[in-house]
Amino acid sequence: MVDKKKIKVGSPQTGCSSCMPNTFEIPLGPQHPALKEPTHFLLEVEGEIIVNATPRIGYVHRGIEKLAETKTYSANLTLVERVCGICSHIHSISLANAAEGALALEGFEVPMRAQYIRTIVAELERIHSHILWLGVAAHEIGFDTLFMLSWRDRELTMDLLEDISGNRVNYAMNEIGGSRRDMNQSQIDRMLKYMDITIERMERYKDICLNENTIRMRTQEVGILLPQKARELCAVGPTARASGVAIDVRYDDPYSAYGEFRDIFNVVTYDSNDVFSLVVVRIIETIEACIYIKWMLKNIPDGPIFKKAPRKVPEAQILSRTEAPRGELIHYLWSNNTNKPYRLKITTPTLSNINTVSEMMKGDYLADSTITLASIDPCFSCEDRMITVVNNDRRKAKVETWSESQLRKYSNDWHTANKRWKK
């Protein structure tokens, strides 16, 4: 048996494939029970040990960015929520922040109570996303009891979100210039109660995950991502924090109401650099999120929740950074003094993290590939921004990238060829 430590990531002995050239390739995906969304990893396997992993993304292109150029800002807030099914609200915050940033050039200001409500919903979303991830990870390593119990406790948060917003998945809570729904006292009391229950249960899961021997056996020293590599590959969010890189947009560059409680904010890091570290970081982050919500509910200011914004957003180019449950989310907005964006560019955290997966998989057993892949909490449908048609034969694959002038020429040619075409 090859000693796993010796061919670990980043060490010069990784070139063991040259001394044993008889590796064979195993595809992981696009259809696989462990993957909830389609993606493809080509694993080069030497016996049971993975020596290389090549990701290929782009199966779920939906053209959301192009569609956003045809809709007004308030309609776009509901559109960008559809980028991701789990972290939907953070996309809407991000676009609203971008548009409000452009409006702020003309002295527009969002009421503080609206910022608090947005932040509370964002943190609730983080709780349910992290508990969902805990269940998925438990399912990947065959621990279905933890999966069922954690998802049962996720229902509390889902009920709260349904109570506040009226929807369970895409909340449609934001409007340019504020929030669309207020919270009354009974909802706040209920939230405080549920947050206490969630903290208690997450503490119990923390005990289970720290003490359960089989979980440790499956996750420790699996999927190692050294801090140096994490920085090189631009890992974001919990993936970076689990490697000891303390980056968090909520702390580094506070948006919405995060600046208000920066002194009690903890950037959770853990230093074992493996999947176990990710489990610990996510569980502690969930508990921290409950504490922030409780702080915000106690300190929420009175006042209006909405300020009527002008329909037209002045010309500006705004880069809006937010911390989604999976990491740093970037919305780049180019407005042109109309009520529709000129260009919207979205970069989701999975796109930043996808390269770390191939790094984490190297030197692991084949059986660990799925838990390693699940450990970054991948959201492949969010990240797909372009589509490339590849030759049937993978080895002759040829990817073409078109420049803007080529695209314009294609579009002009197409419209001259189809003159009668109407929408």
Binding site: A138, G142, F143, T145, L149, R152, R218, Y365, A367, S369
Partner: protein, 363 residues
């Protein structure tokens, strides 16, 4: 050996306590397993087919029979069909040796433990062949995992079986049950047998490929492992076969360690005499058969509940961790205790048991 005996035996093999009864109890135990597993996870489990979903396993089986049966081009088609049939037949044959309605099995001879040991190994071989014939890239790792896992956990099972045979000085299941009746205690209460009982349960879980030892069929890792290409009737047969293997393992554990189909008559000799008396009488024999069957069903269900609880508690290990656990811990410990049993237990049992004999005083 007259005509009536032959007719009764054939009816017994076909219906009660043979194929029909075994399949019913297998489906019942699957329901128990699913309900209890769901209850441990704070769910309700199957609910709507029959009383509290008791017919759900049967419905699933019938549904699988009616499904389309897809065979891959490159696969050995007759091999796949034959393995499915043998996979169902071998546990059924093995179940005929388990004492269910009587202190002896339907088929019984001196040395049938050896045959059962052979049959359990045959099941491992069938699973290996099933994966091999299906010619799938994901079935191959599953097959290799199944072969290594089943063969490593075959050894503790055989050691536990032979330890009981050694303790009771008998190589037939009927002899083991008789020894427990004579000694007025189940084998479990003999000195080192608790260790063998635990090892037997652990290894049975590994043999049955149930979570947390479902490494060969791990769905999230290798998409179902060796059974990935099986669909429709063949998958139904393998599912039913898994249930039958569960009943067989539970029944074997009951027979070896918990006194088989006997119950309280171990400690009430007059009841035992009465039972022995009415077995000859044709009308009252039904009472004895019902009593034994009920006792067997209760004990089997208890074992199944223990197995279900084990299923819910742990994460799945990697195959090399699990084999390491087998070869470094389970097999050496079992072998050591086996040797101790061989040399010291008859003596210690005599000395220590004589102090405890008052505990189960024969009235």
């Amino acid at each position: 050996m007259n005509a009536v005996w032959w007719i009764l035996t054939i009816l017994g093999i076909l219906f009660f306590p043979g194929i029909g009864f075994c399949i019913s109890i297998a489906l019942f135990d699957e329901w128990i397993d699913r309900k209890f597993y769901a209850a441990l996870q704070d769910r309700i489990g199957p609910e709507h087919a029959g009383f509290k979903g008791i017919l759900q396993p049967l419905a699933d089986f019938l549904k699988l029979l009616s499904n389309e049966d897809i065979e891959p081009e490159a696969a050995d088609k007759w091999g796949m069909r034959l393995t499915a049939i043998f996979g169902l037949a071998i546990p059924l044959v093995a179940l005929l040796f388990i004492p269910i309605i009587d202190t002896t099995g339907l088929l019984s001879f001196e040395g049938d433990i050896l045959l059962l040991a052979f049959l359990t190994t045959m099941i491992a071989l069938i699973i290996y062949l099933a994966g091999w014939f299906s010619a799938n890239r994901l079935a191959m790792p599953g097959t290799m995992r199944a072969a290594s896992q089943l063969l490593s956990y075959e050894i503790p099972i055989l050691l536990a079986m032979f330890a009981v045979a050694l303790r009771t000085q008998s190589f037939s299941l009927a002899g083991i049950v008789d020894w427990q009746l004579d000694a007025h205690r189940p084998t479990l209460f003999s000195l080192p047998m608790v260790i063998f009982f635990l090892v037997f349960l652990l290894s049975s879980q590994a043999e049955l490929e149930r979570s947390p030892f479902d490494i060969p069929t791990a769905e999230t890792e290798i998409v179902g492992g060796w059974e990935v290409e099986y669909s429709g009737k063949k998958l139904g047969f393998f599912r039913l076969s898994a249930d039958l293997q569960m009943v067989f393992s539970a029944g074997l554990a009951v027979t070896l360690f918990l006194g088989g189909p006997t119950g309280v008559e171990m400690w009430i000799p007059s009841f035992a005499d009465w039972l022995a008396g009415i077995e000859g009488v044709s009308g009252l024999a039904v009472v004895a058969i019902l009593y034994y069957t009920t006792m067997f069903a209760i004990k089997t269900t208890i074992i199944v509940l223990i197995l279900s609880t084990m299923r819910a508690l742990m994460a799945r290990l990697r195959i090399e961790q699990f084999l390491e656990f087998s070869w470094k811990w389970v097999i050496p410990v079992t072998l050591g205790v086996f040797v101790i049993t061989f040399f010291y237990v008859p003596w210690t049992d005599q000395v220590i048991w004589s102090h405890w004999e008052g505990l189960f005083e024969v009235a």
